[in-house]
Structures are given as C-alpha cells and as structure tokens.
C-alpha cells in the first residue's frame, strides 16, 4: 500500500543556516543517506514526517476494506492468505510509524491526527469492496501500484524510510500474486465469475491510476522532493510504467481495461491512456470518497474496542514489575 504526498509542502524557511543547508544539499545530491541524528532543514523533516506518516496511515486504513472479507473468503486457503496479507499491512504500518518517529513526532500524535481526520491517507481506500473479486483486483492493481511506487523509495534519501521500504517491498510481492491468482481463477470460471472479475477491474482501474497522485504539471511538491531525493521518479513516470506492465496482464486474464482511449503507441513505446477524472481525485482527497466516513469510523471503533487489551497489558506490566521488584 502506498500514499502519495497529498498536502502542500512547507516552503523552505529563510531561517536555515545557509552553510549547513548547502552542505546538506551537497550530501543529498551525492546520493548519501540522511540519518536521524544528522542535521536536516526543517522543511525536509516536515515533508518526510508527513509523507511517512501518511504512508503508515494508508497501511493501517488499508486493512479495513480487506479485513471485512476475511470472514467471507470462499475457502479456508483464501481466508488464511487474506489474514496473512492483512497482518502484513499492520506490520508495514508499524515499520513506517517507527521510521516517522525517528523524525521527532510521537506515535500518539500521528494516531490522533489519523483519528481526528486531520491526516491524509491514500485515496484508494475510500472506495468500497463490493464483491470477492475486489479482493483480487486490490491485490493485483492496488498492491501493484504500491510496489511501483515503493521500489524507488528503497533508495529515498532518508535512511530509516529507505530501510522500511526494503522490508515492505520484500513482503509485498506475495500480495500482488495472490490477487492475480484470484483474478485468474475468476476469469477462467463461470460466466458469472468472469463478469464479477471484469466488474472489479472496471471499478478499480481508474482509482488505481489516481494512486500515483496528480499529474506532474499540477504537482508543485515534486521538484523539491526530487531534488531532496525523497522521491526518485515523478507521478506521471510511475503511472506510465504501471499502465505499460498492467495492460498485458489484463490481456492474459482475458479481461478488458475500461478505457476506450487505451492504445499502444509504437513511436513512444508506451500505452496512451485516457483522461483521468481529477475532479473525482480531489474530491476523494478532500474526504468525499464513497466510504471515507465509514473507514475512519471503523478505524476509531477498532481503536476503542482494543482499549481493554491495552489496559490489560498495562495492568500486567504493573503487576509483573511489582513482583520483579519484590
């Protein structure tokens, strides 16, 4: 899972020491990694804190659309696989929260920002999962898009974020393959099953393309993030790569990508694709996605329902501590 940078980057303050700033810029330009105790400009710290925490929130919220299918998975095998995937998403959220904490923001502050609705997360999770085929489409397309985004982040300039991405990428591969396998089974199944697979592709295709964020021309943060090596490829470059590798995968399934403008451009060596509905994207970013309220309500409910576990752990630690001291 992944989120693109969804808020405005703070501009570089005039207060930074120009000598330190120049030394920092030179290190980053030389592809050196920045580590938590290194000096960094405040705007770099803020941009990364926001990006990593948004990424963490996306992993956590990403458990919700899939989690509600665990009990309805069509076989024990599928249930075990989906459970393992959702566990991985929780793990990825934890790696990322830990990386963000090295920048000086506490876990509590980040969770609070998510629950209050202040923090953003990937727009993709504000779409509903209506059928079992959606679980296939999410693994194939949404995790596929996430991998496309995350692979270059293994070389992002901030060490703890880069190292978290190495772990995440290694684990993510099974997510995409299990999704594609679900799609293969449905696409080769009864006419109803094939229709279900096509319907899921129809609904998830465009939101998956939106996951890469606004077009480069409307992405004012990209230049700064590229210069600081926070980002290594632009939104449009990654989106094009995703389209180029995913269309043949759809063909192999015998499903059609819901874009009448889609065609292979021999001269460019890439697929041309139709206009993305950016109005829809910005509406979802603003929190108007079809199930945005439901997702945050479910997340808060899960947090509140888990209170007794946290209380019990704290009580156990107190009791254990007393016994050890005695």
């Amino acid at each position: 899972m992944y989120t693109t940078e969804l808020q405005k980057t703070a501009s570089l303050g005039a207060t930074e020491d120009p000598e330190r700033l120049a030394a920092f810029e030179a290190r980053v330009a030389a592809d050196e990694f920045i580590e938590p105790k290194d000096w960094m400009p405040e705007a770099y710290r803020r941009t990364l804190t926001r990006q990593i925490s948004q990424h963490a929130h996306s992993e956590i919220v990403g458990m919700l659309p899939e989690g509600n299918w665990i009990g309805r998975a069509p076989s024990l095998r599928r249930k075990a696989i989906l459970l393992a995937k959702v566990q991985d998403e929780a793990g990825h959220g934890l790696y990322l929260y830990s990386a963000a904490e090295t920048l000086g923001t506490s876990r509590e502050e980040m969770i609070e920002a998510l629950h209050s609705g202040k923090a953003k997360y990937s727009t993709i999770f504000n779409y509903p999962t209506l059928t079992w085929a959606d679980i296939g489409a999410i693994g194939w397309l949404v995790d596929g898009a996430a991998i496309m985004n995350q692979v270059p982040l293994q070389r992002t300039s901030y060490g703890p974020y880069a190292r978290a991405m190495v772990r995440v990428c290694k684990e993510e591969s099974f997510h995409q393959r299990q999704g594609y396998e679900i799609m293969m089974v449905l696409a080769a199944g009864t006419p109803d099953q094939k229709r279900m697979a096509q319907d899921a592709l129809n609904r998830w295709w465009w939101p998956s393309l939106m996951m890469f964020g606004p077009p480069d021309a409307d992405s004012p943060n990209t230049a700064q993030s590229m210069r600081w090596r926070i980002k290594r490829e632009t939104n449009d470059e990654l989106r094009q790569k995703f389209v180029d590798i995913t269309v043949p995968q759809a063909d192999a399934l015998g499903l059609s990508v819901p874009d009448p403008a889609l065609r292979w451009d021999k001269a460019r060596g890439h697929y041309d694709y139709g206009e993305i509905d950016w109005e829809e994207f910005y509406a979802v970013v603003r929190g108007e996605g079809p199930v945005a309220k439901e997702r945050i309500a479910a997340r808060r409910q899960a947090w509140e329902d888990g209170a007794w576990v946290r209380d019990a752990a704290a009580a156990h630690a107190r009791k254990h501590g007393r016994r050890e001291a005695a």
Binding site: I34, E35, G159, A162, E171, R177, Y180, M184, Q249
Partner: protein
C-alpha cells in the same frame, strides 16, 4: 575488583545501512563505553556511527523455547510469493 558494566556495541558501516551488532565492551558510563567501542571495533574505518546499549537492558528470547517461539511462522508458506503460480508469459508480477 568488580567489572565495569557491560555494553553491547552496534556499528553502522555506512550511511543508509542499519547498525549491526559487533560485540561488547566494559565501561563505567555511556560516554566511556562509546570511546572504548570506537577503539575496539572501528580502528580501520569500519563505521560512520556507533551505538552502545547496556547489556542488562537487553531482553532476549530463550533459546530452549525457540521451537515454540517461532512455530507460528512455520506452516505459513503462503506468505511467500513462490507459493502462487503465475503463467510464464505474464510478466512483472
């Protein structure tokens, strides 16, 4: 004479890599532990950053319980991408 406390030493060999455990030193406080660690483990430019952690502060799993400890992962081959068959002509997945 009583030994000084033991400190575990971790070295980051270069920027971007994790600190890795390399060994331990005895020292009366954290500052001296860092200097001892430098002189013991990084005499040949082995690192760009050092951590020292009081050994007593490390909680370790019990090796005699390792079978039970790590058992939950043993029967979950489906956590690996190779568990899933994707046709050879489907690329990049």
């Amino acid at each position: 004479m009583t030994d000084w406390p033991l400190w575990e030493v971790f070295v980051r060999s270069k920027g971007g890599l994790s600190h890795r455990h390399v060994g331990s030193v005895h020292a009366p406080d954290a500052g001296i532990a860092l200097r001892h660690a430098r002189d013991t483990y990084t005499r040949r430019m082995e690192g760009v950053s050092l951590w020292v952690v009081p050994s007593a502060q490390i909680t370790a799993s019990d090796p005699s319980d390792d079978a039970a400890m790590f058992d939950p992962a043993a029967d979950k081959v489906y956590r690996h991408p190779t568990f899933y068959t994707v046709p050879d002509d489907v690329k990049h997945i």
